[in-house]
Each structure stands twice: as structure tokens, then as C-alpha cells.
């Protein structure tokens, strides 16, 4: 009897090339009919050894590489890295720069969630929302292009501030976006949220309990989808987030639908934060002039060339010690653990990425589900393999 049972198992390689693994992920599924008995994630197809690279680069040189972690929310990656280095330095950032940072980070959050929404709808079989969300994402990318010239890898947030001041045209675009976007968002919302098929595909699928979510190390919307009221912007506040009003949405159900609702609500909250920023943003410096990473534009004469040269070759001398800083990214907690030996290059840098943890939590969540469920669970955990493999 047992041997008959054994022969019925089917092993399937889902990925590395598969439409719904969101990158070069590979999952070895053991199926009994269509019921998943075991999932073994295999990663490393995008492994670039970023942590090793970081040890051989100055802090400034590593900036563009941070963009390549979660390549759909580069602004947020930049921000997290800069905040970590600033924490090590103990550096202050001018208020205007703080506001600009929050604006771009929240826009990045919306863009990332829009991509997630489109691809999740696509994974569950709804074709059309994908195009609606990508239309809105396009306007955000246009805005980013206006302030920094790049559309995907920005390298805009810098240690000590931001690279450039925002332009009046950007503010106009932002205001227009804030006026139109909530209305456009309703189109997608109307197609999915109350759709019976959508609800049947997502409710009671991939349920994670409160304790498991914490124990498995989930973070961000996936953690809040399990009813944990946890947001690093509130619980470990950084930047000017404490002075802004926003709610942390969380739903106790813990299923795919709850995670979906959390992200939808987060988009609304980001819009709310952006509205406050547009009102409050003060005039002033956009970069800390005291920052050792800045080329001394205002001081004339001799020092310039030498300082620039030293900055390029040896990097800025950092205090000895080690810090960890985690920021609330669209996908979860992105953290940088930096060990400094006082030189211009980090002695060791560990990048804590949310996706890495989520991928390895996946087997526990989908066991016993159907093949169609693993697709919706993957998209609800929202991981990007640039982050998983680093």
C-alpha cells in the first residue's frame, strides 16, 4: 500500500524560469495530485555577493549597489542605507531633506505596492488590473525622472541629505498625482476587492497565525496581515515620521486577502503622508553642508582637490563600532548591520532583507494547499529575488 502511495508523488521544478515566481526563484514542489506536500526553496541564481562587495568599497561607492537590492523600490533602499550610515556617523540631516526623503520614500512605497498589486492580480488570473497599476506607476516614475533623471535606479538619497533639490515642476506633478491617484486607484479596487472569485481565491488561503508570523521573522505588510500592529516607522521611529499622522493598518485574519487589504490601505496611508508633506515642507538646505561625504563646494582654494581625492580613494574615516538600522520598506524590514573598523570601508556589512526571510517561511505556509494556492501566497508575500540572493 505504501509503495503505491509513494509512486503517486510528483516532483515539480517551479522555476527558475516560471511566470509567477517573481524573478529567478526556484521551488521544488512535491505534489500528491495537486496537493502540495513539500516545498523546498532553492535560491542563489541571482547571488552577487553584495556583502562581500561592500567590504571592498567605500561607503559612498556602495550607494548605487543598494539600488539593486529590491529593484522595484530603489528609493526606499537608498533611504535605509543612508539612515544606517548616518546612524553610524551620528549625523544630522536638514529638515527639508528629511521631508524630501519621506516624499520619495512614500512614492516609492506606492510604486512598489502598485507593481505588487498588478502582478498579484495577474497571478490569480485577472489580466486587466496589471495595466491600470502600471499606468499609475508610470506617473510616479515620471516624477522620479524629473528630480533625479533616472527611472529605476535612482541613487538620489545621499548620506547627509539628498542629491538635488526638488523642482517646482515636481511639486506640481506631485499635487496633480495626489488629486487624481485615489480616483484611479478605485478602478482597480472595484475590479478586485469585492469580486467573489477574488475573495474565494484569497480568503482562508495561506493563513499565518499571530505567533507564527513573529516567530518566522516576517516583516512589513506580511506581518501586519497576521494582526501584528507593528511598523518600524511607529515602533522604532526614524526621520520625521513621528511628526506625521498616519495609521498602521493590520488585519487579524492572516490570510492572503488580509495581506492584500493591508497593502491597499498602506497605499492610502502613503497618500495621506504625502499630502501632509506637501503642506509642511519647509525651505532650506537639501544637504547637510557639514557632511564629510559632500565635496566642499562653498569653500574655495586649496583643500578641494585633495579632499575629493581622499574621498574617492580612501573614503571617509568612520567611527569604530557596529550599528544595526532597520527601515520599513514596502516589502518589510530592510536593515543594514555595519561593522566599522575605523577605515573608509565597512569591515563587514550584513544586509537584512525581508524577502530572504519570506522565501524560507513559504514552505511552512503552503503545505497542504493546492498548486494554485502557492501562486497566490507567493504574490501575497511579495518577494523580489534581487533581495533574496543579494
Amino acid at each position: 500500500m505504501n509503495s503505491v502511495e509513494e509512486t503517486r508523488r510528483v516532483e515539480i521544478n517551479m522555476g527558475p524560469q516560471h511566470p509567477s515566481t517573481h524573478g529567478v526563484g526556484r521551488f521544488i514542489l512535491t505534489l500528491n495530485g495537486e496537493i502540495i506536500e513539500d516545498v523546498k526553496p532553492v535560491c542563489g541564481y541571482l547571488h552577487r555577493g553584495l556583502e562581500k562587495l561592500a567590504e571592498n568599497m567605500t561607503y559612498q561607492q556602495f550607494m548605487p549597489i543598494v539600488d539593486r537590492l529590491d529593484y522595484v523600490a530603489s528609493m526606499n533602499n537608498d533611504l535605509a542605507y543612508c539612515l544606517a550610515v548616518e546612524k553610524l556617523l551620528g549625523m544630522e540631516v536638514p529638515e527639508r531633506a528629511e521631508y524630501i526623503r519621506v516624499i520619495v520614500a512614500e512614492l516609492g512605497r506606492i510604486a512598489s505596492h502598485l507593481i505588487w498589486l498588478g502582478t498579484m492580480a495577474l497571478d490569480i488570473g485577472a489580466l486587466t488590473p496589471f495595466f491600470y497599476t502600471f499606468r499609475d506607476r508610470e506617473t510616479i516614475y515620471d516624477m522620479f525622472e524629473e528630480i533625479c533623471g533616472a527611472r529605476l535606479m535612482y541613487n538620489y538619497v545621499r548620506i547627509g541629505g539628498v542629491a538635488k533639490d526638488i523642482t517646482p515642476k515636481f511639486m506640481e506633478m506631485l499635487k496633480h498625482f495626489l488629486d487624481t491617484f485615489p480616483r484611479l486607484m478605485k478602478e482597480t479596487d472595484g475590479l478586485l476587492t469585492k469580486n467573489r472569485i477574488w475573495m474565494r481565491r484569497t480568503k482562508d488561503v495561506g493563513v499565518i497565525s499571530y505567533d507564527d508570523a513573529i516567530n518566522w521573522g516576517l516583516s512589513g505588510p506580511s506581518l501586519r496581515g497576521s494582526g501584528v500592529n507593528w511598523d518600524l516607522r511607529k515602533n522604532r521611529p526614524y526621520g520625521i515620521y513621528p511628526s506625521l499622522e498616519f495609521d498602521v493598518p493590520y488585519f487579524p485574519e492572516g490570510d492572503v486577502y488580509a495581506r492584500y487589504l493591508v497593502r491597499l490601505e498602506e497605499i492610502n496611508q502613503s497618500v495621506r503622508i504625502l499630502r501632509q508633506c506637501v503642506e509642511k515642507i519647509p525651505a532650506g538646505e537639501y544637504m547637510n553642508p557639514e557632511s564629510p561625504f559632500v565635496r566642499p563646494m562653498k569653500k574655495p582654494k586649496e583643500g578641494i582637490a585633495l579632499k575629493d581625492f581622499v574621498l574617492q580613494i580612501r573614503g571617509v574615516k568612520m567611527p569604530v563600532g557596529e550599528i544595526y538600522f532597520g527601515a520599513e520598506n514596502p516589502k518589510g524590514e530592510l536593515g543594514f548591520y555595519i561593522v566599522s573598523d575605523g577605515a573608509g570601508k565597512p569591515y563587514r556589512m550584513k544586509i537584512r532583507t525581508p524577502s530572504f526571510v519570506h522565501v524560507f517561511a513559504l514552505p511552512k505556509i503552503v503545505k497542504g494547499g493546492l498548486v494554485a494556492d502557492i501562486v497566490s501566497v507567493i504574490s501575497s508575500l511579495d518577494f523580489v529575488f534581487g533581495e533574496v540572493d543579494r
Binding site: 521573522g217 563600532g321 532597520g326 569591515y347 537584512r352 524560507f360
Partner: protein
Amino acid sequence: MKNDEIVGLLKGNFGEAFRGSEELSGDLTVKVDLDRLHEVLQFLRSHPSLEFDYLPFMTAIDYSVYPKPKTKEMETKLKEAKAKEEKIKENEEKLKEAKEEEAEKLKEEIARLKEEVVKAKEESEKLKKEAEREERKKRFDIVYQLRSTKHPYDIRVKAEVGEEDIVESATDIWNSAGCDECEIYDMFGIKFKNHPDLRRILMPEDWVGHPYRKDYPLKGRKEDDEYLDTHLPEGQLKRPEHTRMP
């Protein structure tokens, strides 16, 4: 509860196994013995007023090329400070005899020198601290970053690990330690016991060497090219000579 109190609590409970603590920008780091590491972690997880129930990450650090304490630099700094102190004294003596115009200049100089002296002393003290630090016997440090979702505490627990040591897995305390331990095993070659599925996750399973160790060259080794050659699919072109590793 402040950081000092957490440190006190650990000191009281683990005594000699507790090896000291550091603090930078509000980040608390404690060092413990490897033998009692698992006990410490369990204590931190289960103590009712701490409840570190969330493990953001764990990792390892290879300290084999960490710069040695700069004793010479410290001495020169101290000498500089002494020389400057003497100059201050000279200036002060001059001040008594000097006229008004000169006096102001001298005062400014004294103030400047005093600042410099303070700075130099601070730096030398820092270096002194480093020099006084125990010399490492083991190569790696294993790092656990812990966080409590119920209380506003974060803590980092470190323990020294040698190349031959086997660490007790923390998967029974925090499930999320599993993937990080796999990564450490893969990248540093530190082994864990009681781990449910310890395997290489980022590198191929039959890869030789541990890339994040400091003695592993950044651009790879010759053996890596040979590995790739043997694993290429049939008919695929081999890499040209100039792209090969040094």
C-alpha cells in the same frame, strides 16, 4: 528598563559567561561565551520583562584581518598632547608680561590649543581602550540581533566561534534563524547542531570554500573556473581566457 539594567540582569544571571558590553548610537551589544550562548538566548526570549520574540537577523563576522590595536599611534598622540600642554604653559607665562594687543592673540591661541589637547586625549583614550581589549583567540563572531515586539528593546548578542566549533542552532527559539544559519554555514563554514535542514543555500551544494571569509579573494579563485567548466551544459561555449579569474 534601560540598557544598563539589561546588562546588569545578564551579568547577574550568567556571571563569568558574560564578557562585556558596548554601546554605540543606542545600539546595545553584549558578548557572551559560546558554551552558554544558547542559554543566554533562551533567557532573553523567555524573561517576562524582556521577551525578545523577534529575530531580525543573525550573521557571522570573520575577524581574521581586523586591524590590530594601534599602540604606536596612541603614544604619538599622547606625546603631541603633552607638547601642546607645555606650549600652553609657555603662552600663559608670556600672557602675564604681554601688552593688550598681543594678549588677545595669545588668549585665542591658548583656547585653540586647549581644544586640541582635549581632542588628542580623547583619541588616545579610545585607542587605549582598543589596546586593552582582550586579544582574540577565535576567528569568528556569531551575531544575533534580537528585538522585542512587546517592549521597546533591541539587543545584539555576540559570541566568539572558532573554525572547529559547532554552534547550537537557535531554530528552536526563533524559527527564522533557520535560513540565516544556512547562510552562515554556506558563507563562513560555521556548523550548527540540531538544525533541521542545514545545507548550502546561495552557493551550489558541491562548492568548495566559503566566500564571505576574509581569505577568499574578491574576484574568485582558479578552482572556481574549473568548477564552472565541469558544470557547464553540453555544447555551451567555455568562457574566454581574458575573463578567467586571476
